[in-house]
Symmetry: C2
Subunit: 395 residues, 2 copies
């Protein structure tokens, strides 16, 4: 992770609580000096882990005010008898130490599903965790929340506004919902800008739509997906109404960076694939086509093999459930046109193979005509390693 | 393929026309002595190959009367400039030889997408093909229509009705839409029963819904999927109204067998997985859950690794977009309960591993309560071989 300028007024801490078997920090804490405006997005899976249910309830009860986020890796605290009790007791105990209302603490968990989480492992480490709070430990948080993904994921932005500078920073973990009985996507973003809660929520919804809702590793949606943004106002700078869009753009870029890092670090992934669709009848239709191409195992294996397989791309678009005229479609791979008006376009195979060996692959699907809808999705290639990792976890 | 009793009044022929590179029959013909009642189901992909468009048009123009089916493998005749002309000229020429109306010939193609198909390869072999027509050559048809799938697929049934015996037989090819630029599922079923066309069509719709619409290899839908049923009445036996359901059941079983054979022969597949869902709020909801479990790469890789990963199954069901209470769910793998009321149920890991090493795997997902909806889906495991085959076709 590259170093970044951290937003003012946040503190971080991590420790090893013995939740995961290997001795590697598995408990992380993010605290705001003053309770912050909070906005959150949770999984839409019907099966929701206890921390997701509690965080959702706390967000409602506190009217979007949050003082701390308590995160553990190694156990998803999902589909267990004690799940609700563990989420409640640990966040309450933390609130007491930090002198916050219990509903101002948001829990998040990632790891194995269906195995009881021993609350004492967490309870006995809360004081240690709070004692360790410091200004610079966000990179350690990024590492502590990893499960099967390899690289810590972080991003930061600094925005100069008329009234001063505000900072944004965030961390995330992936990779899809990839690991056996593992639940996945977590992301936490902090800013020291002054942003009213209702506005923060609207910004987060819009930003999520073009970041975390635009990535796919394997199409599986986890029981624990959680994305939280905190705005604590510690900079004292409130973007003026005309500059709110500048701030929102920066937040969007931050979340897109965190989302793309998850895809790039997808299990077995060697390539980040950007799928752009233009000329659809609406942005939603473009999104549907981009999503379907991104989820196609045939497209993802073709890219793994550096195979300029535009027939698979056209075919996947064809079952996206969206109307378009196939004879109006151009497909570009790595800036080279491989399909024009739905038919093969000549290209240099050897050159294309070299281009597709890159770790960044661009697919552009363009429909000629009046349609103005466009969308970009990010996915990764599907390699033998993905299957190997996921088929052989327990054996 | 096991031997079967063929329906009366059909003839078959195959030959090598040089469409595929390896010298292996790639052109097949099915002819009915008298034009038969025909019903057909075609791909819903927005990108439709020329033979699909022509077959659809011919079905309409002939009002569901068909005398011959002309099938080629090795080239999908899709996304090419000459596609429509090739489909039209070859079926017209065949109709002339067989003294049929042009719209009584239905074309079907499978193979590479986006490469021009030379019509002369087919035209020059039509007379040979017709000269070779014989009563017993259906197994050769099953072999000639294969592309990347390994095993010829066939099934047959004999039904004893009050008025006499009727026979059904069929062939299919797969395997999903699996191969680079390859388009896939084809199935042809013949019966010598007397079945009015409108009734045949309704039966086919219902039977397809619980057979070909219930299988998944990789979730990709091809540009060329075609399923045709012909009833030529050569037995002289018309099921009486009360026995139509007996005939329909037999047709359904035939199509289910052909569909399951496609899944078992999915690329890289080592296991056929039956996913049963019970207790959903409707059959449609059950189907949606079964489909989502069947399409989950995480479930499919877990089964490949003989991993009793019920957390992935529960999680996949959770994002099926259907309401259910996770705490009411029991999951059974190979007849052993692994999840009870949404929580882990104890089982013998070593015994389960051995059970899951079987080539037939059963997943039963049961929701307790009042729901009466149920559905069965068939899928296959996702192995490293699938990725290997699909990533390395062109290189």
């Amino acid at each position: 992770m590259r170093p970044f300028d951290l937003p003012l007024g946040f503190k971080y801490s991590t420790t090893y609580a013995g939740i995961r078997k290997t001795e590697k920090d598995d408990l992380a804490l993010i605290v705001s000096g003053v309770p912050a405006a909070a906005a959150a997005v949770f999984t839409t899976n019907r099966v929701q882990a206890s921390p997701v249910r509690l965080a959702r309830a706390n967000m409602r009860a506190s009217k979007g005010v949050c003082g701390a986020i308590l995160i553990n890796a190694g156990n998803a605290n999902c589909a267990t008898k004690s799940g609700d009790r563990v989420a409640a007791s640990t966040t309450k105990a933390l609130a007491k130490i930090l002198k916050l209302l219990p509903n101002q603490v948001l829990p998040a968990s990632t790891g194995v599903i269906g195995i009881e989480l021993d609350e004492n492992l967490i309870l006995s480490k809360l004081q240690t965790l709070c004692d360790g709070l410091n200004d610079t430990g966000l990179p350690e948080v990024a590492r502590a929340i990893l499960t099967t993904d390899l690289q810590p994921k972080g991003a930061s932005r600094e925005v100069t506004l008329r009234r001063g500078i505000v900072r944004l920073a965030g961390v995330s973990k992936g990779s899809g919902m990839i690991h056996p009985r593992m639940a996945t996507t977590l992301a936490f973003a902090m800013t020291d800008a002054v942003i009213p809660q209702t506005l923060l929520r609207r910004m987060l919804m819009r930003a999520t739509e073009v970041s975390f809702n635009r990535i796919s590793v394997d199409g599986d949606t986890s029981t624990n997906d959680t994305l939280i943004v905190l705005a604590n106002g510690a900079s004292g700078v409130r973007p003026d109404p005309k500059e709110m869009s500048v701030f929102e753009e920066s937040l969007t870029e931050l979340l897109q960076s965190l989302a793309r890092q998850i895809v790039r670090d997808g299990e077995g992934a060697r390539k980040l694939i950007a799928v752009e669709v233009h000329g659809a009848i609406s942005d939603a239709a473009a999104g549907q086509i981009a999503r379907t191409i991104s989820n196609s195992p045939l497209v993802k294996t073709a890219i793994a093999g550096s195979d300029p397989n535009w027939g698979r791309i056209l075919c996947a678009a064809g079952y996206a459930g969206v109307n378009f005229d196939p004879t109006q479609v151009d497909i570009t791979l790595q800036d080279i046109k491989v399909c024009r008006n739905g038919l093969a376009a000549p290209f240099d195979e050897a050159d294309m193979k070299i281009r597709l060996d890159d770790t960044d692959v661009s697919i552009v699907f363009r429909i000629a005509g009046k349609g103005k809808g466009s969308a970009t999705f990010w996915t990764c290639d599907l390699t033998e390693d993905y299957v190997h990792i996921n088929a052989n976890y327990r054996s």
